[in-house]
């Protein structure tokens, strides 16, 4: 297929590539996170309706966005693993899943926190939270399926199939949940959340939001990359390149 992708089918090549890319994600990620937090929490003006508590969107919205984005990335990794038998893609899927699940959980947690001070309820079945909850189950299913297999490679293949089935269903689930929500009573929480995410959001709030979105992506990507490299190292530990990287002297073996 794409020729440039081929060398990275070997875990070793990917490992070194990821090592090189890591600082480019980590440093901007940390800086932008700091910027986004300060800007969003301290500098941006309070909302005319919700006061200070709206500020949680700077964590909630990026987490929600990327929880979905990472699922798609995970499904793409699954596709590469299944169709082109790329070993590294299997490891990528395993690296992404927990990070995506945590992002989903964060979006759920912050979404719940958001509703509490305003309307005195810790949970609301609005479209976004419901869809995120289902997404969390999708992530958990992929992870649970992988763990249930004794043969780790079979588990990775099964998880890939499930991730692909899930990704096809996500648009359908989203559409149906949002539709379901409009069908039943529209709560003020829903309308408030929707309004803040609408294009008419004030620039004073929009810019820090954009920064936090990028920051969240970079930091989450760093976590995925680190996990991926750990997995690669763990599986390749008996190979000479891995031993060399770790500074362990390579004992010459007859077979190689």
């Amino acid at each position: 297929m794409w020729q440039w992708l081929h060398p990275y089918a070997k875990p070793e090549a990917t490992f070194h590539l990821v090592q090189k890319l890591l600082p480019w994600f980590l440093i901007p990620g940390l800086i932008l996170s700091a910027v986004a937090l300060i800007w969003g929490l301290a500098i941006a003006p309070p909302d005319y309706q919700q006061g200070e508590s709206y500020r949680i969107i700077f964590v909630h919205v990026p987490a929600a966005m990327w929880s979905m984005g990472f699922y798609v990335a995970m499904a793409i990794a699954g596709l590469l693993a299944l169709v082109w038998q790329i070993r590294t893609a299997e490891l990528a899927l395993l690296a992404i899943a927990p990070v995506g699940a945590v992002l989903t959980f964060i979006s759920l947690f912050t979404g719940a926190l958001w509703g509490q001070p305003m309307w005195g309820t810790w949970w609301v079945w609005d479209a976004r939270l419901t869809a995120q909850l289902i997404l969390l189950f999708l992530y958990m299913g992929v992870m649970a399926l992988y763990i249930a297999f004794e043969d780790e490679r079979a588990g990775a293949k099964a998880a890939s199939i499930l991730a692909l089935v899930g990704v096809i269903n996500i648009p359908i689930i989203h559409y149906s949940v949002y539709w379901w929500n409009t069908l039943h009573q529209q709560s003020t929480v829903t309308r408030a959340i929707t309004r803040l995410e609408a294009p008419s959001i004030a620039p004073d709030m929009l810019y820090p939001l954009l920064v936090s979105i990028v920051a969240m992506m970079l930091v989450s990507a760093v976590l995925v990359m680190k996990r991926l490299n750990n997995e690669i190292l763990r599986r390749e530990i008996h190979r000479p390149w891995a031993l060399t990287y770790l500074g362990i002297p390579v004992v010459q073996r007859n077979e190689e």
Partner: protein, 207 residues
């Protein structure tokens, strides 16, 4: 040349079972895959049957990679692995009727004589779950007496057979080979003193 294996490698978990295995099976040949337990004999049979993908290498049926000619290959293949493939809720006759029907073969009369060949007289019409495991395996073996496939891949076909049964199976093998069929099998039985030549492939246990 009926079936060929080219540089087959199998990996289970992190362990390489075998590497660079080559096999050429022609009409009229019987091949025995030998090796200690855990050496990958069953995995090799499953790879040859197309059930398990090989880590590396190809299996060719009549010169074509089996992934490309799957239906043609399976039209001519009979595989009996560790599990018999017999539904316990159905009788021996009903089980055989299914396997005959999917080969396009209709029994004109219920196959009592077939089941007699494998020593199941009087047990043909009761649900297979009331038979012993060995007897259930013999129902599966009865397929060898009506199947018109040319290639047989059999994992331990002699287990669960008594002396008469073993002799009958040898006769059946001989007839099959004489008609141009081929057989690949594993067995703990001693096949040295047979009236047909036995080709051997040795798998060594890899650490």
């Amino acid at each position: 040349m009926l079936l060929q294996g080219r540089e087959l490698q199998s990996v289970r978990g992190e362990r390489v079972l075998f590497s660079n295995i080559n096999l050429d099976v022609a009409s009229g040949q019987l091949w025995q895959i030998e090796g200690p337990n855990g050496a990958g004999k069953s995995s090799l049979l499953r790879i040859l049957a197309g059930l398990l993908p090989a880590q590396q290498g190809d299996v060719l049926f009549q010169g074509e990679v089996i992934q490309q000619c799957r239906e043609v290959y399976y039209h001519d293949l009979l595989f009996i692995g560790h599990k018999s493939g017999i539904k316990p809720e159905l009788t021996a006759i009903e089980n055989l009727e299914f396997y005959a029907a999917v080969e396009g073969h209709e029994f004109s009369t219920p196959p009592y004589d077939l089941l007699a060949q494998v020593g199941l007289v009087g047990l043909e019409d009761i649900p297979a779950q009331r038979l012993s495991a060995g007897q259930q395996r013999r129902i599966a073996l009865a397929r060898l007496w009506f199947s018109q496939t040319r290639l047989w891949i059999l994992d331990e076909p002699f287990t669960a057979l008594d002396v008469d049964g073993i002799a009958m199976l040898h006769d059946r093998f001989q007839a099959h080979l004489a008609q141009g069929g081929a057989i690949i099998l594993t067995s703990h039985q001693d096949l040295h003193s047979m009236s047909y030549p036995v080709h051997r492939l040795q798998l060594r246990y890899q650490h």
